[in-house]
Symmetry: C2
Subunit: 249 residues, 2 copies
């Protein structure tokens, strides 16, 4: 299930709780790490409020600009969960009871527990494909290249594995990290030279504090291991010359 062209995606985090700062988003990182592992580059992430018009406009923009769009949040049972309805409008599809989702939740809950609130979670765009939820029953859904996942991080994570065969990735994006006991300014010039020697490869430089000491992680990213190896060697050369210590991180 791989092809050679670049495959990209956008992540759309829907939720006032992230914009207010009350909740720290962790779903971006979970989805991005998973996408990278199957060869999909994340082009952009947006966080938007629970406002129907904003969701519609943003989804319609992102789904045309990217191979895939992954949304999180807004598919629960409460009044502020408006993602499924908004996605229906974005695609001009009926918002209706999804029969298979209904069957799943009817079987999931004890008799009498599948109440009105829970039934809201089976309303979806017509003909949506379900994304199964091994943690808490209520499925996510997919229409064309848009995949709608819940906002609760543990539930979201448990659903990513089941998505793998619905997505066509590219070559896995490989990376190698070299962490150094130094500061960025000490290596900036040498690193620029290495980047100039290795144009088709991404070199990132990230300062860190660890156990009270400063350090820099250099991250090399490419689809081609031999390019990473060549670049890594050039970095280790100047690290050696400058007598910089390599550290674990």
């Amino acid at each position: 299930m791989t092809k050679n062209t670049k495959v990209n995606a956008a992540i759309l985090i829907i939720g006032n709780e992230i914009l207010s700062g009350r909740t720290q988003d962790t779903n971006t990182s979970s989805i991005a790490l998973w996408l990278n592992s199957i060869g999909i580059t994340v082009n952009e992430v947006r966080v938007i409020p629970d406002i129907e018009g904003t969701i519609i406009d943003t989804v319609n923009y992102l789904r045309k600009a990217n191979d895939y769009v992954f949304t999180t949040g807004g598919i629960g049972p409460t009044h502020d969960d408006i993602t499924a309805q908004s996605i229906s409008r974005a695609f001009k599809l009926e918002y209706e009871i999804h029969k298979d989702a209904f069957k799943i939740l009817e079987a999931y809950y004890e008799q009498g527990e599948f109440n009105e609130g829970r039934q809201k979670m089976v309303w979806m765009p017509r003909n949506a494909n379900l994304i199964l939820n091994p943690t808490s029953g209520a499925p996510g859904f997919n229409i064309e290249n848009v995949f709608c996942l819940p906002g609760v991080p543990s539930i979201l994570k448990s659903m990513l594995g089941g998505l793998q065969n619905k997505i066509v990735g590219g070559k896995p994006i490989l990376s190698h990290t070299i962490s150094l006991r130094t500061v960025e300014s000490e290596i900036a010039k040498s690193l620029t030279d290495v980047q100039d020697n290795n144009k088709n490869l991404e070199i990132g430089s990230y300062p860190f504090f660890q156990a009270g000491k400063l350090g820099v992680s250099i991250v090399i990213r490419s689809e081609d291991q031999s390019k990473i190896d060549k670049c890594s060697k050039e970095i280790l050369n100047f690290v050696d010359e400058k007598k910089i210590k390599i550290v674990d991180r």
Copy 2:
């Protein structure tokens, strides 16, 4: 320094390390909490890669669509730090040595330590206003309504306080949280009724897991404390009727 109209902002996180999932962004939450406390609503957050054209286009869009824009990342000394140069191009301003920033860093570093790498950090758009950095010397900068901050969370946080008098906020956005030992579907209908009774106020419902137990936090947000109090009372009424336990969170 307050006015009565709504004031809004966008946050722009610049950095491949967030898009790859390698680094978990925490700056959004820090900036958003601070903005909320001074009466500024965050309309949207975007995360974009270290690509000049993307930075220019995104900044030019966001600065017109919002009262304020806060960027993080890309103002360090290495080759992948291209925010200052990109912002200069976005505003069609010269990218040049900022004399005051030069003086600050010349004084900050020991003699001979203010090397070529570090000098890159004083290149800014012409006539930028400096944002002082009490942690590590190198200032951020501000042009019109765009404020450029570093990506390292501890440094960024230390710089927010100094920004307060450059920003005109609105009425502080107040919030009240009621955490319950229940699941969303049990309260969904009652909560919808309360929201219908309290149109000009935002009620969010957020499931959580804590110490192995499920719960829901209801967050009421408004600029008007009396509206929050009225709404809170209505929620506590149905909580009491349903014999749901209130929990600390």
